[in-house]
């Protein structure tokens, strides 16, 4: 009964990826597509931008996300958990494009953020927020926090709170308990959520286009340029393979560190 699914995976997951690699090596300039890609300052910048901004997004999302996840784990009052879950899941349900749209309106030159900053007297002139790397990181973090929470939450539920109480009962400070007892216990969850958030982040297309404008390209932006504006599919294929390799390496490293189970657990 698994046959249709297996066929679908073969033809629609494995074959496209195989074809991508194959085309990137045989069409256009052949392996030279990669040379072309790395020679282009636009693509080099896009790769750096993608990695740097995704790293920032990952740090922010995992920090905020695991804090939220831990609070959700520990909170006992129903009202607190309800409000927190709503805050976490609302954006998850809001629709990707709509989320970005909200940020475009918040960050515009005559938008709400500039309005409040001026009202508070912190700035005289509106500052450029939209169409910057800052806007992209903010928008992407917003999208990724729910993933980070959901990825870290399962390991947190498995932590035995008594252990922490015991450590503190034996005189350890809260900070000490955090770093020597809690951290090792939740490490797999943190690593899994870091890898998942990073791997998903580097493939982003919508947010960099809408909030970053022309000058904050992601790899996906130059790929779409190559396909739709410059009709250079071979180089687009090469850039896509580069993107894939980065994602697979990150996931592979994480898997090696904490095992497949933690990653798989982080998804569900």
């Amino acid at each position: 009964m698994a046959a249709p699914l297996v066929l679908a995976i073969l033809f629609l997951v494995i074959y496209p990826l195989f074809k991508l690699v194959y085309d990137s090596l045989t069409q256009g300039d052949g392996p030279g597509n990669y040379v072309e890609a790395f020679k282009s300052s636009a693509i080099r910048k896009a790769i750096l931008m993608t990695l740097a901004q995704s790293a920032a997004v990952t740090v922010l999302s995992v920090t905020l996300g695991s804090s939220l996840a831990w609070t959700l784990r520990r909170a006992t009052r129903r009202s607190v958990t309800a409000v927190l879950w709503a805050a976490v899941l609302l954006p998850f349900w809001m629709g990707l494009v709509v989320k970005n749209y909200a940020f475009a309106l918040l960050l515009a030159r005559e938008g709400a953020v500039n309005h409040f900053l001026q009202k508070l007297g912190l700035i005289d002139q509106p500052v450029q927020l939209l169409y910057t790397a800052f806007a992209v990181v903010l928008g992407m973090t917003y999208t990724m926090i729910p993933y980070a929470v959901l990825a870290a939450y399962p390991t947190m539920t498995m932590v035995d709170v008594e252990l922490l109480n015991a450590a503190q009962g034996m005189g350890a400070s809260k900070r000490k308990t955090f770093s020597t007892v809690l951290m090792p216990l939740i490490r797999p969850g943190i690593v899994a959520s870091t890898a998942i958030v990073f791997a998903i982040s580097i493939g982003f297309y919508v947010t960099p286009v809408l909030l970053g404008g022309a000058q904050t390209p992601f790899i996906a932006t130059v790929i779409s340029d190559d396909i739709f504006t410059f009709f250079n599919y071979p180089r687009a294929a090469a850039s896509s393979v580069i993107l894939l390799v980065i994602a697979i390496s990150v996931l592979g490293l994480a898997m090696k560190a904490v095992g497949l189970k933690a990653i798989r657990g982080g998804l569900g």
């Binding site: 297996v6 995976i9 085309d23 629709g95 494009v97 791997a199 569900g268």
Partner: protein
């Protein structure tokens, strides 16, 4: 035992933790509320703060034909996607879980993998394959891409649910005289129903919200709601978007909340 400085530092530590959580929660809530607020402005163009209030945006949304066609297409696409994804995954998962087939874990892993691929790279791969077989800019092509996009979530939901249904129940039914088919229908499928419904809703919403595949693989005449919103945000904004967004938020929240509840029922 603990020193005074320790206590002070611990207090600080707790407060920093609370601050982070507070910032996180606030950061998550503000944009959603902001959009909802702007949707009740009657200004001709979106501006902050709004000068006039009212429900014009909602009137626009439900009366202009700009939105009707994309919403219709998105609904159709999402419905077909959900059905196809279920037809694909449900038999597979039941088969894999009940047959203890070797390689089952691999198949499950491979079907979850697309969730972790960078969407843009994967879209280019599909673009090449679709160009080869003439599926670019076709409804069928978009359905296929959306199904693949939805499969990981559906697999995860159904597989988790199946793990929770003990095969012994089926066996018990059979020892009590039920045929294999009846035991299966009466026990497993019934226990699985909430998860199936939940999975269908997740698949539906994932297609309804999808904006990247449609950009790379879609084409003329295939403007879905997210694509229309994406284009209007990228290219200039129709104020009715705020109303669309608010309605979307409420509807998808309700749907997914419901779906999550269904999942919990299985557990």
């Amino acid at each position: 035992m603990t020193t005074r400085t320790d206590r002070i530092l611990d207090g600080l530590f707790t407060w920093v933790g609370r601050l982070i959580v507070g910032i996180g929660a606030l950061f998550m809530a503000v944009p959603a509320l902001f959009i909802a607020m702007l949707s009740f402005s009657n200004d001709q163009h979106i501006a902050f703060p709004p000068k006039t209030w009212g429900v014009n945006r909602y009137v626009d949304l439900f009366t202009s034909d700009t939105w009707a066609a994309p919403i219709g297409l998105s609904l159709r696409l999402a419905a077909v996607t959900a059905v196809v994804a279920l037809l694909l995954v449900l038999p597979a998962i039941i088969g894999l879980k009940r047959s203890n087939l070797r390689g089952g874990g691999f198949i499950e892993g491979a079907s979850v993998a697309p969730m972790l691929f960078p969407v843009a790279a994967y879209a280019v791969g599909l673009y090449a394959v679709f160009a080869e077989v003439g599926l670019l800019a076709s409804f069928q092509g978009i359905v296929i891409s959306h199904v693949i996009h939805a499969v990981p979530m559906v697999v995860i939901i159904l597989s988790t649910a199946m793990d929770q249904i003990r095969p012994e129940l089926e066996l018990a039914a059979m020892t009590m005289g039920a045929s294999r088919g009846r035991a299966w229908l009466g026990v497993t499928l019934r226990l699985l129903t909430p998860a199936v419904a939940g999975a269908a809703i997740f698949a539906f919403v994932s297609s309804f919200d999808e904006a990247v595949f449609i950009t790379f693989l879609g084409g003329p005449g295939l403007v879905t709601l997210p694509k229309l919103i994406f284009d209007s945000v990228q290219f200039g904004v129709d104020p009715a978007i705020t109303a669309v967004a608010t309605v979307l938020m409420i509807v998808t929240s309700a749907l997914l909340f419901f779906a999550t509840r269904l999942r919990k029922d299985v557990r």
